[in-house]
């Protein structure tokens, strides 16, 4: 079906229009704003700024580097743990046992829950007055009044666990889907050859899952980098900016200080960083190189 026709263009036309208006044009204007002094609260100073915003960001703004470092830590820890737990979970619910359908539906269900709702649920669970730690302390475990979200020493762990609750099912679903596409005779052949269970996992399962793992970790890394809902509502970037990611910093520049020029420069930097790492990753995985 390699006919030259207008049909494919007609079919993608609505998508093109939407992407042009809501993706391409905004990117263009972010780049434009990033070269401007553009602050809604100080309009008399607005004007062309050249690379001033970028200079300030690179040399004069410790919070930029701090938020970038936290973003990196957040993405690596979250995606790594989600992949590990998701893989284990997928392997478990791929086995045969009574109630498997029910178990799958239950363990996957947090995937459908929003970041804000996740925050709501975990605030109920973690708050010092009526949360789970209060309950445990009544049973003699731990001390009453433990506030894991307000304590700088535990806030990162609390945040990580909360996002794991919602994030692990994503990997489990994708990897389970891929596990089910492994031809069964591969395992039988391996069994006949006397391969142990672990050996079958490393030489049949893992190589087959490789592509799915590469794609899902990349997608997830981008999403976790850009994840604002949960951190914004759970810690607001605090205490003392300790959990501020780059996108959260941008959102605060836009919403709180109305410094659109500087916020746009931060956006451009974040986009370039993400694009650089993604291209490197895609190259490594040879994704999209269909014949």
């Amino acid at each position: 079906m390699r006919t030259r026709t207008w049909a494919p263009y007609a079919l993608i036309a609505p998508t093109l229009v939407l992407m042009a208006v809501f993706l391409v044009y905004p990117i263009g204007s972010v780049v434009y704003y990033s070269l401007q002094r553009y602050n809604v609260t100080q309009p008399w100073k607005n004007g062309f700024a050249g690379l001033d915003n970028f200079k300030q960001m690179l040399f004069d703004d410790p919070l930029f580097w701090q938020s970038l470092a936290f973003s990196a830590k957040w993405v690596v820890v979250e995606v790594g743990l989600q992949l590990l737990l998701g893989l284990v979970l997928a392997l478990i619910v791929n086995e045969t046992f009574i109630g498997r359908g029910m178990a799958r539906a239950l363990v996957f269900s947090p995937w459908a829950v929003s970041g804000v709702l996740t925050t709501g649920i975990w605030i109920l669970l973690l708050n010092p007055s009526t949360g789970i730690f209060q309950q445990l302390s009544q049973w003699g475990i731990g001390s009453p009044g433990t506030s894991v979200l307000g304590n700088p020493d535990t806030v990162f762990e609390a945040l990580v666990v909360t996002e794991l609750w919602r994030g692990v099912p994503f990997f489990a679903i994708l990897l389970l889907a891929d596990l089910q596409s492994i031809p069964k005779d591969l395992y039988e052949a391996a069994s006949v050859d006397g391969a142990s269970r672990w050996r079958r996992f490393t030489s049949v399962t893992l190589p087959h899952l490789k592509d799915a793992i590469i794609l899902s970790t990349l997608l997830r890394a981008v999403w976790e980098f850009n994840n604002v809902d949960l951190i914004y509502t759970l810690t607001g970037g605090g205490p003392a900016n300790q959990t501020t990611t780059l996108p959260l910093y941008v959102a605060r520049q836009a919403v709180d200080s109305h410094n659109f020029g500087y916020g746009s420069a931060l956006t451009v930097a974040g986009f370039l960083i993400l694009l650089f790492f993604s291209i490197a990753y895609l190259r490594l995985s040879k994704f999209g190189s269909r014949a």
Partner: protein
């Protein structure tokens, strides 16, 4: 693909007493190892379910009570959030938005996915690349220009505006997924129908669409859940309370220290029940749909 649909019932009733030729047999042969499945599964189930249970308990027990198994239960918190805080309106807005996004994302991704899977056209690679790149654009970072665009188009405080923006952001990934699904449907049947005199459109509806059902369910439910959960755009572009969606309404009941926990929990239940139900119904199709090869693009 219809075969994958009928597979679970077959699975559920294996021929009695016959050793099935599956690798699962390995587990059945080693009953002593079953704890390796059950122990981690139960632990993970607890991790998943305790937070849900905690929310439900808070939602149905009177303020000040600390019972872990609340009885008698009360619906006062639901009455408060639904009528006083306005979750009734938020719920309606979320339903409209979720269904709107579902319909448009599904239709547009089938159209575009079909174009990518069944045609070779100039600019195809650029189009595909642009859609992949769009996945790297942080929604949070687009707030500033989008706000300006929305204002210019008069789309602030409008559910229609939210639907359009959400469709634009969801479409690239859905479209790529859908083209993977369509590529997996053999082209021969379709060609045969066209040789027999069907138009391409009729061939699509008669041959392709029936086989796309699991894909439609997967993409459609993705779209609905994504729209239902959309927070940042809804927060930025709706300033009037009668245009709030559930996540925005919920975010105003949050706060670690001075929160009405009963109202927060009841609001959470209202926000959770529809998506969790939708998800429970479709998760089987989701796994099947994805395993049909979409992941491999």
């Amino acid at each position: 693909m219809t075969e994958t649909l009928t597979r679970p019932p077959v699975d559920a009733t294996p021929p009695p007493r016959q050793p099935t030729k599956r690798r699962r047999r390995a587990v059945a042969e080693e009953p002593g190892k079953r704890w390796m499945i059950h122990v981690p599964l139960v632990l993970y189930l607890l991790f998943t379910l305790i937070p849900f249970y905690w929310m439900i308990v808070f939602a149905v027990r009177p303020t000040g009570s600390t019972q872990l198994v609340p009885w008698p239960i009360t619906f006062e918190h639901f009455d408060t959030v639904w009528n006083d805080i306005g979750f009734g309106i938020f719920f309606y807005n979320s339903v409209v938005m979720g269904l709107g996004v579902l319909v448009f994302v599904t239709i547009l991704s089938v159209m575009g996915g079909y174009a990518l899977a069944r045609f070779r056209f100039r600019g195809q690679r650029v189009f595909l690349l642009a859609m992949l790149c769009s996945q790297f654009i942080p929604g949070a970072m687009m707030l500033i220009p989008l706000f300006v665009i929305f204002k210019g188009l008069g789309l602030l405080n409008s559910i229609t505006g939210l639907i359009i923006a959400e469709v634009a952001f969801q479409l690239p990934l859905s479209l790529i997924l859908m083209s993977g699904f369509i590529r997996n449907i053999s082209v021969e049947l379709e060609e045969a129908a066209m040789v027999d005199g069907c138009s391409r459109l009729r061939a699509f509806f008669a041959v392709v669409l029936p086989q796309l059902k699991p894909a439609l369910v997967a993409v459609g439910s993705f779209a609905f859940i994504g729209a239902w959960n959309q927070f940042l755009f809804a927060l930025m572009f709706a300033t009037r309370q009668d245009k709030f969606t559930l996540p925005v309404g919920l975010s105003f009941t949050l706060g670690e220290f001075n929160t009405d926990f009963g109202a927060l929990a009841a609001g959470g239940v209202v926000a959770a029940v529809p998506v969790v139900l939708v998800f429970a119904v479709v998760q089987r199709f989701l796994v099947q749909g994805l395993s049909a090869g979409a992941v491999k693009g």
